[in-house]
Symmetry: C2
Subunit: 351 residues, 2 copies
DNA sequence: ATTATATTTGTGTTCGAACACACAAAATCA
DNA sequence: TGATTTTGTGTGTTCGAACACAAATATAAT
C-alpha cells in the first residue's frame, strides 16, 4: 500500500529470493527469466512501490541525452526571439542533468526550410524533440515520422489535430480573444465601435488569428450592445502599406473605442490607430521589445502575454521530466493568459 | 575559459599530477594539503571549470535533506490554503531528490504560536527552512538564531529588513497598488470617486496594506484628475459590522466608480459595494474560492494574483537548488503581478 | 548415457564523488 | 641518531542501477 522508503534492487532480490540480476531483468523486462522467478519478483514489486534511485540511474547510464529543438529564427519576430531566450535559460538550468540540446532554426515563412531541417534532425535520431509545428501539413508529415521512429516530441505554439505529442504546450486562443474583448468591454462600457486587426499574415494561413477573432466576437454576442465590430486584414509589415489599408478600410469609421490586434506585431499599428482615434484602447500580444516601447509610451494599453519564454522553457522541462526522470507528463499544458499593462510590465520582464 | 565537458576529480588529479584524494581535499578544503599540491590543483581548477556530477554526489551523500516549512494554518485564509497546495505539489515534484519536508502551521493571529513553533523547528536543526515571517519583531529574533545556527532559510510573503534570507520571494507591493490604480484608471476614465478599503486587519499591523495604498495614490498623484480617493479601514470580517462601517464612512459618498480592496478578503465587501454603487469597478487580491465566485458572478471585476501557490512552490524549489544542487540563488525573487478577470481565471486555475 | 545447445541465474565491474584509513614523508623531540 | 609525533598523500570502499559475462541448470540431439 504505502511505499516503504527507498527499497533497492538488492532488497527486492532478497525479498523475492532471487539475484539482483534477475530483478533487474524483470524490471526492464529484458527477457531470460523463468516464469517462476518472474512470478516471485512480480509479487514483491506489487507489494512495495519500487522507485528507482534517479541519481544512481543517471550516474550509471551517463545518459548524455540528446534533445533537438526546431523553432523559427530569432530574427523572424520578437515572439521567437523570446522563445529562444527561454530555451537558452532552460539549457542552463537543466545542464547538470546531463542533457545535450541542439537548437535548429528555420525561416518561419518557408515550409520547405521547415521540412528539410526537420528531416535533418530526424536523421540524427535525437532522444527527444521540441518543435513548433507552424505549418499544418508539413508538420503532420514529418512528425508522423518521428512517431514511427519512436522519438517523443513536445510541441508548443501550435496545436495540430491527429498528432500525439508527449505534451502540447500552448494557450487557449479563443479564450484569449474573449479576454481581449473583456478588457475592452471594461474600458469602453459598450460604447463606440471596435476593430479587429490581422497583421502581416493572412488569416487563411494562420488559424490562430481566426480563433482569437472568434473568441472576441463570441464574447460580445452574448451581451447586448450596439457597437460595430469590424475586421481588417493587413497582410503587410511596411508602415506605408499599413497606413494605406487602414485609410481604405477604416477611413469612414468614427468613434472607434477599441482595437484588438491578433499578433505580436501590434506595435506596427498602435500609433496610427491612437492618432486616428483618440482614447481608443489598443490590445495586442506579447511584450516584445517594440511592444514594450508601445506600452511605455501609451500607444498600446494592454498586451496579452503568450509567454513564448515560458512555453519554450517548459518544453525542455517536459522533455527532461519525461526522459531523464521517466515521469508521466500530461499531454497538454495550457499556459495562463497574462495581461500586461504599463504597471506590471516590469514584473514580467525581470526574471 | 570555456568549460570542458565533464571533467572528473580523477581527470583533475591526473592534470595536476596528484592523487584524487588530494583534489578532493582541495575542493572541500578539508585541510592536510601542502602548499605545493594546493597550488598545482588550484591552477588546474582555475583553468577548467569543474562542475561536480550532481548525480554521483547525491548518490554518495544519500543526502536525505530535511526541510522545514513554517506557514499559517490553511484554515486561516484562502491565501494560505493555496500556499499549502503549492507546498504539497512541490513536495511531490521534488520527492525523488531525496528531500524530506515537514510542514508546520501556526495561527496567523498569534505571534506566540509563531515563535514557539519556530523554536521547536530550530531544535530539530533542519537543513533548510521556508518561512513566512508575518510578525516583524518575532521573525527578526528567531531568524537571527537560524542564521547563527548556519541554517539557510527562504522567506516568502513578507520581506523583513535586516535579515539575509538565501532568497526572499514576493511581489513589489507598492507596484501592485499602482497596478490596481492603473486598471481603475482605464475603466473609469478619471471620473467619479474612488475607495481604498482595508479589511479584517489594521494597516498599523499590516505594512503590506500601506504599501499597496501608497502605490495606488502615487499613481494618481502624477495625473491630473479631480477624483476623491478615500481610505476606509474595516478591521472586521463579520458582514454586519462591515456594512455598518461602510454606511458610516461611505454613506455620504456619491458616484464611486472604483474600489480597491487591499487583501484577499475582497469577497466580503464586493457585493455591498456593487449594490451601493452601480457599475463601480471592484479590485482585490487572489483567486481564493470565495473570490472566484465573486469574479464569476460579476461582483469582483479584477483580482491581482499574489500567487501564494507559486511563491510557496518556488520556496521549496529554491531550497532544493541551494542545498541539493549547490547552485547560487538570487537573494530576491519577485513574482509577476498577474491580473485576473472572468475570462482568464480558468487559465490560472488548472495547472 | 553423453555431449551439445539453449535457457536461466548469479557475479562482478562501472559510473563519479565522498570519505575512512593506511601508509609515506617530514618535522619534532629525546 | 633513533624514536615519536605531525603532516601530507594515495588507496580502497561505498552509494544503487545497468549491463557484460560467467556459471549453473534445463532441454535437446546423438
Amino acid at each position: 500500500m504505502e511505499q516503504k522508503k527507498n527499497l533497492t534492487i538488492k532488497d527486492i532480490a532478497k525479498l523475492a529470493n532471487v539475484s539482483p540480476g534477475t530483478v533487474d531483468r524483470v524490471i526492464h523486462n529484458r527477457g531470460k527469466v523463468s516464469d517462476k522467478a518472474l512470478a516471485k519478483v512480480s509479487v514483491v514489486l506489487e507489494e512495495i512501490q519500487y522507485k528507482p534511485n534517479v541519481f544512481a540511474q543517471s550516474l550509471k547510464k551517463q545518459k548524455s541525452l540528446y534533445f533537438s529543438v526546431l523553432i523559427p529564427r530569432k530574427e523572424d519576430d520578437g515572439y521567437w526571439r523570446t522563445a529562444h531566450e527561454g530555451i537558452t535559460r532552460a539549457i542552463e538550468d537543466f545542464d547538470h542533468f546531463g542533457i545535450d540540446v541542439k537548437v535548429t532554426s528555420f525561416n518561419s515563412k518557408l515550409p520547405a526550410d521547415f521540412t528539410s531541417k526537420a528531416n535533418e534532425i530526424l536523421s540524427e535520431s535525437p532522444n527527444g524533440l521540441l518543435i513548433t509545428p507552424v505549418f499544418l501539413q508539413e508538420s503532420l508529415d514529418i512528425l508522423k515520422k518521428f512517431e514511427n521512429a519512436g522519438i517523443p516530441y513536445v510541441t508548443f505554439n501550435t496545436k495540430i489535430p491527429d498528432l500525439n505529442p508527449s505534451c502540447a504546450i500552448g494557450q487557449n486562443l479563443k479564450q484569449s480573444g474573449r479576454l481581449a474583448a473583456n478588457l475592452i468591454d471594461h474600458c469602453c462600457k459598450q460604447m463606440g465601435n471596435l476593430l479587429i486587426i490581422h497583421l502581416d499574415e493572412n488569416p487563411g494561413n494562420a488559424p490562430h488569428m481566426i480563433q482569437k477573432e472568434n473568441g472576441f466576437r463570441e464574447y460580445f454576442q452574448s451581451r447586448n450592445h450596439n457597437m460595430e465590430i469590424k475586421s481588417i486584414v493587413i497582410p503587410h509589415r511596411e508602415p506605408a502599406l499599413i497606413n494605406d489599408i487602414l485609410n481604405k478600410q477604416a477611413g469612414d469609421l468614427r468613434n472607434v473605442t477599441g482595437a484588438f490586434v491578433t499578433t505580436a506585431k501590434v506595435h506596427l499599428v498602435a500609433y496610427p490607430i491612437k492618432s486616428r482615434f483618440n482614447d481608443c484602447v489598443v490590445i495586442g500580444y506579447d511584450p516584445t521589445a517594440n511592444n514594450i516601447d508601445g506600452i511605455k509610451s501609451g500607444t498600446i494599453d494592454f498586451l496579452i502575454n503568450q509567454n513564448p519564454y515560458m512555453a519554450a522553457y517548459e518544453g525542455i522541462a517536459k522533455l527532461t521530466d519525461l526522459l531523464v526522470f521517466g515521469k508521466n507528463i500530461d499531454p497538454e499544458k495550457l499556459l495562463p493568459l497574462d495581461i500586461i499593462t504599463s504597471e506590471n510590465l516590469d514584473s514580467y520582464l525581470l526574471n
